[in-house]
């Protein structure tokens, strides 16, 4: 070791230290104020979630009036018409309330009776290949028929609805679907329903009579579906934020999302793994997953997709059935349906997260009252599946702060204009 260091060297070292300190300070400032919020990969991922990435609604070849304005108008009137129920008090809008983003704010739907399933939103639903929690329908019009003749939903039956069409909507119906057959000789209440009297009356009808009624019933569903196809997601604050992102990962309009919401979004696409299933512009992959959600207390465990598959394959009103307008090769959902495997038992369809902060409670029977409860469920790695198996791997290890950030982000998915008013 040398004791004496030349003055020039000392000066040099001093200068170097100074430059390093300066660089450190500058880079810290750059990092804190000007480093991109997102990497190019993350920007691409965020754009894939934006409504700007939503493709135009695909046609429904099984419904030839799917995009017919007169069918939309008829469907809208039917949607709100309480006469189409056993007690004259229930319409589609009883559970699918427009002012609540077409949900009802209750754990279970309430029609003529109590429906032990949580009401799903209809906004953007038309994009899905499958309908209802377990996908028991393969078109929106086939889905629309299910509650109409379910004993605890609308509680009615096929001939009742055909008579009501003949009494209140004959002109609108005939303009779209051709002349109504003479129904005067048919029973007021008949259909393949739980009510034994109506079921016996249905059995007593000829196959030709049943076919004529089935056709009117299917056409009602097609008009209802045409209206529901117009219920499309509207831009949320999140979409404005993504639109403001430049390719370099910075927002051109700071302040659209708060720091907490941005942190939540980072968790959504990263550590929280939410994006695995809640992906694309509707925040759903339209697939069926079992995450070990507990059953509603006092109610049987839902068997999920394994029952849904069996139902849709045997549904008279499916895409391959006699009331579909599609050629068989157009029925892609059914042609390539998964009919076996571990993912079916207990599988439920991933719901959209658009407007999720306004559509509590959550899960297929409204088991969770708040978003915080849902996040807690996933943070624990889901629950013990009561039927089938929980496909989640392990706890997410989100801190309490992170869980709050994630929740804050979910609030940015609420569409900005008010939901449509009831006409």
């Amino acid at each position: 070791m040398r004791l004496g260091v030349a003055r020039s060297e000392r000066l040099f070292l001093l200068a170097v230290s100074g430059v390093m300190a300066l660089l450190l300070g500058v880079s810290a400032v750059v990092f804190l104020t000007d480093s991109p919020t997102w990497s190019p990969d993350e920007v691409a991922l965020l754009r894939s979630l934006s409504l700007d990435a939503l493709e135009p609604l695909p046609p429904d070849p099984s419904n030839r009036v799917a995009d017919n304005p007169d069918a939309i108008a008829l469907g809208e009137r039917l949607f709100f018409d309480v006469r189409f129920s056993a007690n004259g008090a229930v319409s589609c809008a009883s559970c699918h309330m427009p002012e609540r983003y077409f949900t009802d704010g209750r754990p279970f739907g309430v029609g003529v009776g109590v429906i032990p399933l949580n009401t799903m939103t209809l906004i953007g639903a038309a994009y899905s290949p499958w309908f209802t929690w377990d996908g028991k329908a393969d078109s929106q019009w086939a889905q629309a028929l299910l509650p109409l003749e379910n004993a605890v939903e609308h509680g009615g039956n096929r001939t009742l609805y055909a008579h009501l069409i003949a009494e209140y909507y004959v002109a609108e119906y005939e303009a779209l679907f051709g002349p109504l057959p003479d129904l005067s000789h048919l029973p007021r209440n008949a259909g393949p329903v739980d009510d034994p009297v109506a079921a016996a009356a249905w059995e007593a009808m000829t196959p030709e009579e049943q076919d004529a009624i089935n056709r009117i019933f299917a056409n009602m569903g097609k008009a209802l579906a045409a209206f529901q196809r117009t219920l499309l997601p509207q831009p949320a604050r999140f979409d404005r934020y993504v639109a403001s992102l430049n390719d370099d990962g910075r927002s051109s309009q700071p302040g659209i999302l708060s720091e907490e919401e941005i942190a939540g979004l980072r968790l959504f696409i990263g550590k929280g793994q939410c994006i695995n299933c809640h992906n694309g512009p509707r925040f759903t992959n339209d697939a069926f997953h079992n995450t070990g959600v507990p059953a509603a207390p006092g109610y049987p465990v839902h068997r999920g997709r394994i029952d849904g598959v069996a139902r849709v394959q045997s549904d008279l009103f499916n895409c391959l059935g006699p009331y579909s307008d599609a050629a068989p090769e157009e029925c892609t959902a059914l042609r390539f349906v998964v009919t076996e495997g571990d993912t079916l038992p207990g599988g439920m369809k991933t719901p959209t997260l658009r407007n999720v902060a306004e559509t509590a409670p959550y899960m297929h029977t409204g088991q969770f009252a708040t978003l915080a409860d849902v996040i807690e469920h996933y943070n624990a790695g889901g629950g013990l599946a009561l039927f089938g198996h929980n496909e989640l791997h392990q706890p997410l290890n989100l801190t309490a702060t992170e869980a709050k950030q994630l929740e804050a982000f979910l609030h940015t998915l609420t569409e900005e204009p008010m939901p449509p008013e009831e006409p």
């Binding site: 030349a6 060297e9 040099f12 070292l13 170097v16 430059v19 390093m20 660089l23 450190l24 880079s27 750059v30 990092f31 480093s35 991109p36 919020t37 997102w38 990497s39 990969d41 993350e42 691409a44 991922l45 894939s48 290949p129 990962g249 980072r266 696409i269 990263g270 550590k271 929280g272 793994q273 939410c274 994006i275 695995n276 299933c277 992906n279 694309g280 992959n285 339209d286 697939a287 069926f288 997953h289 892609t332 042609r335 390539f336 349906v337 998964v338 009919t339 495997g341 571990d342 993912t343 198996h389 496909e391 791997h393």
Partner: protein
Amino acid sequence: MRHIYTYTLLILALFFLASCSSSSTSSTAHGNAPANLDFSTTRLSEAGHYRVSYTSELNPIAINQLHTWTLHIETVEGTPVENAVIQVYGDMPEHRHGMPTAPKVTQYLGDGNYRVEGMRFQMGGWWEVVFEIEADGETDRVAFNLMLR
């Protein structure tokens, strides 16, 4: 004496490099696939009977879109394989599930080409798409790796 200059210059250079690479590179939800995965679209089957390749009508392959692939099968000598019976399935090795559809080979297009309909992926990340091929009494298997966004 000179080494002091060299040494400090080296530290400065390293410092510079470190401060320049401080761009945000946080990982997304699906980034745990093994390194060195082979993502090529032409692969030799596992027992070495066939050279198999695929093309997708959707390019790049996006999630949540039903689409069609064309599978080409030839022997290692380059002769197209006809009359193959083909099973197809997809799997996410990091997750406990496969595809949301059951794709099928729906048509032989000639020249060793097969139409595969019903392809759909519901999640970004690492996928394995497996074709089990039976032709001329030989059964073989080929797995393609995909990394979807």
